[in-house]
């Protein structure tokens, strides 16, 4: 008799649970559904046979007349204003913080590398692994995240994201001044007025277009837009590494191997 009572009880509980489940709405999360196809590792395939010198820098030359290479964007088409032209005449490789001091390269130049996207409610974590850096940033979605005070600046800025239809759009502002902030091989600076807008568009399950719009009225006459395509490289995390840049060694490379000597008294 007690056994029968237990069975009846369990049946009642099971029926009640089944009834509750039927009355619950289907589990949907629009934010998750939208971001899901973007998750994983993406490869821009911007490379060259030996992994170096991915392209020219629009005919620009360096301190000893060398042809600059390995720029991350079509810098020959950048709408430079006269201040930017003056900067390029003034700048030299030996002061480059990315080369001499292990400073991380900036957005948008870093976007030409492998990209890993993970998501949490209200934010994305985007990783940009490359030697000798591994840059990780948080993209605050749909108005979440910190509200910086006026004048609060960050090397990689503050990134805010949203969906525009099915496009993932990220706007980044609040950058510090950066001597290599537009391109670290052209050595064109960016100002605190820099704004980078990334628009990620899925072409299909395995291909994604990234349209980048770069604004910086300090150095550019108008916004500059360029794009490239990523291919999905899987869902695993980025290849991990020991990302400890040795500034002393980096400086010695310049000291012993770079022949440019634009400012001999300041070597």
């Amino acid at each position: 008799m007690p056994g029968t009572r237990r069975t009846t009880c369990a049946t009642v509980v099971a029926l009640a649970l089944a009834g509750m489940a039927a009355s619950l709405p289907a589990q949907t999360n629009e934010e998750f559904d939208k971001i899901f196809p973007f998750l994983g590792q993406w490869d821009p395939h911007i490379s060259s046979p030996d992994g170096q010198d991915r392209g020219s820098c629009g005919g620009y030359t360096g301190d000893y007349g060398e042809k600059l290479v390995n720029c991350t964007m079509p810098v020959g088409r950048l709408p430079l204003n006269s201040r930017a032209e003056a900067w390029l005449r003034y700048v030299d490789q030996l002061q480059s913080p990315t080369q001499a001091d292990c400073a991380q390269i900036a957005f948008p130049a870093v976007l030409g590398d492998v990209l890993f996207i993970a998501a949490y409610p209200g934010r994305l974590v985007m990783e940009h692994p490359s030697n000798p850096w591994h840059i990780t940033r948080t993209v605050w979605m749909n108005g979440t995240g910190p509200q910086p005070l006026p004048g609060e600046l960050f090397q990689h800025g503050l990134s805010r994201g949203r969906f525009d239809g099915n496009d993932l759009v990220i706007e980044t502002t609040n950058f510090t001044f950066d001597p290599d902030g537009i391109d670290d091989h052209l050595h064109l600076a960016s100002s605190v007025r820099k704004k980078v807008t990334e628009r990620y568009q899925l072409i299909d399950d395995n291909n994604m277009r990234l349209v980048i719009t770069l604004e910086d009225p300090t150095f550019l006459t108008r916004p500059f837009t360029y794009a490239f395509v990523f291919t999905k490289a899987g869902s695993d995390g980025p290849r991990q590494g020991w990302r400890n840049c040795d500034a002393e060694s980096a400086r010695r490379e310049q000291e012993y191997a770079y022949p440019g000597d634009k400012y001999p008294d300041a070597r």
């Binding site: 490869d43 821009p44 395939h45 911007i46 490379s47 030996d50 992994g51 170096q52 010198d53 991915r54 360096g62 000893y64 060398e66 600059l68 290479v69 390995n70 991350t72 490789q93 990315t98 080369q99 292990c102 390269i105 130049a109 870093v110 030409g112 590398d113 492998v114 490359s130 030697n131 000798p132 850096w133 091989h185 490289a233 290849r239 590494g241 020991w242 990302r243 400890n244 840049c245 040795d246 060694s249 980096a250 010695r252 490379e253 310049q254 012993y256 191997a257 770079y258 022949p259």
Partner: protein, 135 residues
């Protein structure tokens, strides 16, 4: 057959190497169109990024040691993956083949291939077949 399998594996592995944003352009610092060889004793080998760094004392015509700075064409992580250990290099007589600095009279190079004079062991520091990816 085994050789063919290994060759295929190398090709596939090369294809999996992800492009790396280069710290600087090697060709700007080193003359990649020229190859030179030095021979001397390794005095230091640091597995660091952006590029591992080896010092080699090379005797000049008068027998005086001149220090050459060898920049590996890959960083610390790949060096570890390759199993390089500084103690395996330091104190050893080696030949180093690589691309010379563009600085006139400079004693530096990007390497390249290291051959141990005793034993003939060969290590690629990047930029040669079978070596770690260039960074």
């Amino acid at each position: 057959m085994k050789l063919r399998f290994l060759a295929a594996l190398v090709v596939i592995s090369a294809g999996l190497v992800l492009p790396a944003r280069a710290h600087h352009s090697f060709n700007t610092f080193f003359d990649m169109s020229r190859t030179i060889e030095i021979e001397g004793v390794v005095t230091s080998f640091r597995l660091v990024s952006p590029h591992s760094e080896m010092l080699v004392d090379v005797p000049d015509a008068g027998g005086k040691a001149v220090t050459w700075r060898i920049t590996a064409r890959t960083g610390a992580t790949n060096a570890k993956r390759e199993g390089w250990k500084p103690e395996d290099f330091i104190g050893k007589q080696v030949k180093v083949e690589g691309n010379p600095t563009r600085r006139v009279g400079g004693t530096a190079m990007a390497a390249g291939v290291v051959t141990f004079v005793d034993g003939g062991r060969v290590v690629c520091l990047g930029g040669c077949p079978g070596g770690p990816p260039v960074e």
